[in-house]
């Protein structure tokens, strides 16, 4: 920014001005680079950039200006002139070019090296040829089959001395320090413990432990338990290691696997769950399972304690109330089981996972048995996280309301649900926002789905009776084959509802019969179904994976009887549990919008037992869609999805009737639309984001040189300290209690802010920031303008037409536009501001606007690259020597393009110096030098010549407060700390009158001090020469 090192030249001409002296001065503030400064340099204690740094920064600076009674006018950049953009681009390219050339040279070096090596190798090969032939049967480590199953086979390590270049020793000569001899093979002694022996190497492969492929082993199987504990432990720990989040994939691989980051998140969650399972298992194996449950009371909390509860095969650490402890382990137990089942199968998928077919691809039934099993548990596995919560909730409610009527129960559940969302919402939102969703969006989505469900309910009510009748008949008539077609439509859209049934299927080979039986007793079917879900885990728990069908069936029947006998309330209570199981699916994908539907259902269904169960079913279907969504995401990973999809088809025909298809399809559609929308929004968001990034990149064009940047950071740090001091001062000077001000920002105002903000958010980032700042200015009653082009030029113009008394900027460009009375370092800690006046500059360093522009041409500025190798002193000397740049160019041409040999004695020392530089290629003037375009760009910048006076308003305390409180999340007290004293001070000034200054009344004449300003020797000479030239009129 600005002219390179122009400040170094002008520095000595600065006049210290007390901040107080600027009172009532109208000063144009060049705010164009402020935002960038703040963005770059305002960091928090950890060095992170603050999102609202621009507001904080502006706020502080505005406060400072107002405190000293300055009347600021903020000038913002309109656009960057073409000249400036070009220069910035050129500069960037040059920098790029530098790095390119270094890369190129590195490549060349490498090429040379490679060539040399090749030649050397060729020479060596000739010599070696004969001896190498003998070594045919040497086995090299890298040739060994890595997955060699047998261990302890022939070791690679050979004691025979292989011939190599080392053996020939004397032929090898080091080319350089880093040159190593070529190795065609290597040998190690058996005892060398740096080298991993073969067995270990094979084991380190992790795929095999004691000859067991851990990919195929099932840690839950009986066989596994029979293994020696040590082996079990090894397998488990390896499995656990493998379940690390990235599974050893590289980032690129992962990106290929999961083009969508959402999928990856899901995958990660899965992995975490797996890990949890392995960890628990590991604890078991390690013998930790033998100890009892550990509880620890929370100090000061009488009825609550942490309990490390040991359930069937896992540990659960929970914070519990005294009462619920008895209840909780049961639910958590289920969860533990679920977790266990899930990953076990999940892991199994790997070996099973063949090529992933499309979801609705029909698959021969032979596969079904296995896949089914896997799929069930997988879905269960997905359900886990929320079920836990839900389960707790429902069980609690069950306990509390055990004896109450159904209605009351439902209400209580409803109440609980109402309460829960408040607790759960934040959690969900957290997870969800991390996926790129908005709170607002979620809410909307929830509303949306609620409405849908209401609609659906109405529909269903109508259809219900019809269904009841038709279902029985259709159930029987429907053949499996028939339904495949029906279900191809929404193949993946099969529900968890199916899955419990599938479990039944799987467990009872006579599933067809059984389901008939179920449907026969249509009402109870639902209850039973829920029951089976409940009991299922226990069953599987007690048995190895392949369940015994008979017991299961017996169980189911038993449950059925039970259900028959049970009160409706109890059934309701139980039902709430399976409902809980639904939630996890949502947790995995679109989530909360399905959380709330439950409330809706519970209210409306009260007595309609069957309808609730219908809804339950439907709900499951609803849930399933999202789960299938979720699974879609994971398609790449779980190749057997397609098979399981077709699997559904087999099962579905058993239970779903034509009537059921209608609502479920409807619901599917509707709910399907939600995620799609989400996705769309997601996409558009992404687009916006990328756009933003682009813009950001564009706007970050301001090239802060590295030092400059550091300086900036340093400056802003001191400024912050300064502000702290300022705040303290201002606080001290106003010891009236802040509490005396009884106005405060209401909620409503904050909401208004939000509205405004969201409106502004539609624009892109930096424009946003500018509007933020402008909004702040508005509320401070400070006028601002947006320059047609460059803000510095506009500031200079404002001074010229007398609208302002000076310019606050740190950009030396301002002088080139003819800016006078430039105040620099306004926001440093010092009490004095540096004031630069054109007359001073002219008097002290003999530079006027034209000369300043010429300097810029030499040194480089925003508009020109400058001449390489010319620093401030040399530039001044050149100007002094030649007077104008044209003259300099003429001399340059004379010495480079003509062959006239001049007498060196005629030359001044400077000319000699320059000549050597030219000869060494260190100085070159392009043909276009000095470019008149740049002259005119500085002389006649595009500015607004409007002469209408500026008006200053009064800061609006309330508005500023609400603005800061909303945007910076400041507390009111934090805002008031500075703002209230400031405004009070301003009001007092206004009431008592503002102090004018002497300078307003008497014309000033600057007396140049008798002594010369401190300039470097060369600079001084140059200045004197320039002054002489001026006097002689040259």
């Amino acid at each position: 920014m600005g002219v390179n090192s122009l400040w170094d030249i002008l520095g000595p001409t600065a006049r210290p001005v007390r901040l107080e002296a600027l009172s009532r001065k109208k000063l144009a503030v060049d705010a164009s680079i402020w935002i960038y400064q703040f963005l770059k340099a305002v960091r928090d204690a950890e060095g992170n950039s603050l999102p609202q740094s621009h507001i904080v920064g502006f706020f502080r600076r505005i406060c400072k200006l107002l405190y000293f009674g300055i009347l600021p006018i903020f000038v913002f950049d309109g656009g960057a002139p073409a000249l400036k953009r070009d220069t910035i681009n050129q500069r960037r390219q040059r920098r790029q070019g530098n790095s390119d050339s270094t890369r190129q040279s590195a490549q060349k070096l490498l090429a040379i090296h490679v060539q040399r090596e090749a030649e050397r190798a060729r020479a060596a090969a000739k010599k070696k040829q004969v001896s190498l032939e003998d070594d045919d049967d040497v086995i090299y480590l890298e040739d060994l089959p890595i997955s060699h199953p047998s261990h302890g086979s022939q070791p690679i390590v050979k004691d025979s001395t292989p011939t190599s270049s080392i053996a020939q020793g004397d032929t090898f000569k080091k080319a350089d320090e880093y040159h190593l001899p070529d190795l065609t093979e290597f040998r190690v002694s058996k005892d060398d413990n740096r080298i991993m022996p073969e067995e270990e190497y094979l084991e380190a492969d992790f795929d095999h432990v004691d000859g067991i492929d851990i990919n195929t082993v099932d840690p839950k199987s009986k066989e596994f338990l029979l293994l020696p504990t040590a082996t079990q432990y090894m397998i488990l720990s390896h499995l656990r290691l493998r379940s690390r989040l990235r599974m050893g994939y590289r980032k690129e691989q992962l990106e290929e696997l999961f083009p969508n980051s959402m999928e990856f998140s899901k995958f990660q969650i899965q992995q975490v769950q797996k890990r949890n399972f392995y960890t628990q298992k590991l604890m078991n194996v390690a013998g930790m399972g033998d100890e009892g449950n550990a509880t620890r009371r929370i100090a000061g909390d009488k009825d609550r304690k942490y309990a490390l509860v040991r359930n069937e095969d896992g540990w659960t650490l929970a914070l519990q109330g005294e009462q619920s402890t008895s209840e909780n382990p049961v639910t958590l137990d289920d969860e533990g089981e679920e977790i266990e089942r899930g990953p076990a199968n999940h892991r199994k998928e790997r070996p099973l996972g063949t090529t992933g077919g499309p979801a609705d691809m029909p698959i021969p039934k032979v596969d079904v048995e296995v896949i089914k099993d896997e799929d069930d548990s997988e879905s269960d596995f997905e359900e886990v996280p929320l079920e836990n919560r839900q389960g707790v909730g429902s069980s609690k409610s069950g306990e509390e309301d055990d004896d109450e009527f159904q209605k009351a129960l439902i209400q209580s559940i409803y109440v609980q649900y109402e309460n829960r969302p408040t607790e759960e919402q934040p959690i969900e939102i957290k997870t969800v926002t991390s996926d790129g969703f908005d709170k607002d969006e979620l809410k909307r989505a929830v509303e949306f789905s609620k409405q849908d469900l209401f609609k659906l309910q109405e529909e269903e009510e109508k259809l219900k009776l019809k269904e009841e009748v038709s279902r029985k008949e259709e159930k029987r008539t429907m053949e499996k084959g028939d339904s495949i077609q029906t279900f191809a439509d929404f193949s993946l859209g099969r529900s968890i509802f199916d899955e419990p049934l599938k479990i039944e299927d799987k467990e009872a080979p006579v599933n067809a019969k059984k389901s008939d039986l179920d449907f026969g007793s249509s009402f109870l079917f639902r209850a039973e179904e829920t029951n089976t879900i409940d009991y299922k885990p226990k069953k599987t728990e007690s048995q190895p994976d392949n369940a015994f069908p008979t017991t299961d069936a017996a169980d189911a029947l038993e449950i059925e009887k039970l259900a028959d006998e049970k009160e409706e309330t109890e059934e309701e209570g139980e039902k709430s549990k399976p409902k809980g199981q639904n939630l996890p699916v949502w947790f995995n994908s679109d989530i909360p919008q399905k959380l709330n539907p439950h409330n809706v259902q519970f209210i409306s269904n009260e007595n309609e037992y069957s309808s609730t169960s219908r809804k339950y079913q439907e709900d499951e279907e609803a849930g399933l869609i999202s789960w299938s969504e979720a699974r879609n995401y994971l398609e790449d990973d779980e190749s057997q999805d397609g098979q399981s999809g077709s699997e559904y088809e087999d099962d579905d025909d058993v239970q779903v009737t034509g009537a059921a298809v209608v609502p479920s399809e409807a619901s599917e559609e509707e709910i399907d639309s939600v995620p799609v929308e989400d996705e769309r929004e997601d996409e558009s968001r992404k687009e916006k984001e990328s756009e933003r990034e682009k813009r950001k990149a564009d706007l970050m064009d301001y090239d802060f040189e590295e030092e400059e940047e550091e300086e900036l950071v340093e400056q802003l740090r001191t400024e912050e300290a300064d502000h702290e001091q300022f705040r303290n001062n201002i606080k001290k000077s106003h010891d009236l209690a802040l509490a005396a001000i009884n106005t405060s920002v209401t909620e409503e105002q904050l909401l208004q802010e939000q509205m405004q903000k969201s409106k502004r958010d539609s624009d892109e980032v930096t424009q946003n920031m500018i509007t933020d700042v402008q909004e702040l200015l508005k509320r401070f009653g400070i006028p601002y303008i947006t320059a047609p082009m460059e803000a510095e030029a506009q500031c200079a113009e404002l001074v010229k037409i007398g609208l302002v008394d000076g310019i606050i900027t740190d950009d030396s460009d301002c002088f080139l536009f003819g800016g006078d009375r430039v105040y620099k370092n306004m926001f440093n800690q010092k009490q004095y501001v540096e004031c630069y006046i054109l007359d001073d500059i002219e008097a002290k360093v003999a530079l006027n606007q034209d000369r300043l522009i010429e300097l810029a041409l030499l040194l480089g500025s925003d508009y020109t690259e400058g001449i390489k190798g010319i620093g401030p002193v040399l530039a001044m000397e050149i100007l002094a020597e030649f007077g104008t740049l044209k003259e300099f160019k003429r001399w340059f041409d004379e010495n480079t393009k003509t062959t006239i040999v001049k007498n060196k004695a005629d030359m001044t020392p400077l000319q000699k110096n320059l000549l050597t530089r030219i000869k060494n290629g260190k100085l070159f003037l392009p043909d276009s030098f000095p470019d008149s375009v740049i002259f005119s760009a500085y002389k006649l910048p595009e500015v607004d010549h409007d002469r209408s006076e500026f008006k200053w308003g009064v800061p609006s305390l309330d508005q500023i407060r609400s603005f800061l409180m909303y945007n910076l999340r400041w507390t009111q007290s934090k805002v008031d700390e500075v703002l209230v004293p400031l405004i009070r001070d301003m009001n007092r000034k206004r009431a008592e009158g503002t102090q004018s200054t002497i300078g307003e009344f008497f014309p000033q004449e600057y007396i140049q001090s008798r002594k010369e300003i401190k300039l470097g020797k060369r600079m001084k000479t140059a200045t004197t020469m320039l002054n002489k030239r001026k006097k002689t009129g040259k």
Partner: protein
């Protein structure tokens, strides 16, 4: 070469003491007519203009104009070293690095010399034309000092309203208000005690009491003070030196923003 000898060091002591609180650094411009000082306080509200005429010195010689950049704080310490009745002589070269201050006891044969390093002070020079003022008030300087001191306790601003037959000083603050009204009065025996108001136009001006408080430090220089006021212009407070010369303060008024 500058050589100026005061009959009594007390005069210079008073001058320096009355200025040093508002101006820390200033250039003493020495010409053949005497020594002038013009300086503005840090906040640029109060301008100090001092003329010590040639007549104030018992001996004065200044061949060429000499500027002495003096740090008044240090200078004041040096001047305090002499007794009030001592002769005080200022000595400086043509382009001096330091100024010499010599005290001579009138009775004893005691001479003390102090040298003060000079500073290079950038300063602005304000061209002050003789202005037409709406009102000229002559009053005892101690009277004025008392008014300022009293009203200073109430507020930061002093309002001066001059009408045909009275001068009213008012200050309104958060704790209360106070006002002093003076009427023209002529004391034949002690003319310096008279209050004299010459009025062309009524005046209503407000000044910062902080600055007035600086001004009244010069009270000891003269028994009377002349206040010249005009609307929307800096007020002039002048203390005449009996021996020739003056110490003037130009104080910029306060404005109501709306006007």
């Amino acid at each position: 070469m500058l050589e100026g000898k005061f009959d009594e060091s007390t005069l210079l002591k008073k001058i320096v003491d009355s200025v040093k609180d508002c101006v820390k650094l200033c250039n003493f411009n020495c010409t053949e007519h005497g020594i002038t000082v013009q300086a503005v306080d840090d906040s640029r509200v109060l301008l100090v203009s001092l003329l010590v005429g040639q007549t104030a010195f018992s001996e004065y010689r200044c061949d060429r104009d000499v500027t002495l950049g003096i740090d008044l704080e240090s200078f004041s310490k040096i001047i305090k070293c002499g007794n009030n009745e001592d002769y005080l002589t200022l000595l400086a070269e043509d382009s001096p690095d330091s100024v010499m201050t010599i005290f001579e006891d009138k009775k004893k044969e005691r001479v003390s010399e102090y040298s003060l390093k000079l500073m290079n002070i950038d300063s602005e020079f304000l061209k002050i034309d003789d202005m037409e003022y709406d009102t000229v008030i002559n009053m005892p300087s101690s009277e004025f000092a008392k008014i300022v001191r009293d009203l200073k306790n109430l507020s930061e601003s002093l309002n001066i309203i001059v009408t045909k037959d009275s001068v009213k000083f008012t200050s309104e603050g958060e704790v209360g208000t106070g006002s002093v009204v003076l009427k023209p009065y002529t004391d034949m025996d002690k003319p310096e005690e008279s209050v004299n108001v010459h009025l062309d136009n009524p005046v209503d001006l407000t000044f910062g009491l902080k600055y007035l408080n600086d001004i009244i430090k010069a009270t000891s220089l003269s028994s009377t003070i002349t206040i010249k006021l005009a609307d929307k212009t800096p007020a002039l407070f002048e203390y005449k030196l009996d021996v020739g010369g003056y110490l003037r303060f130009y104080l910029a008024p306060k404005f109501d923003e709306d006007e």
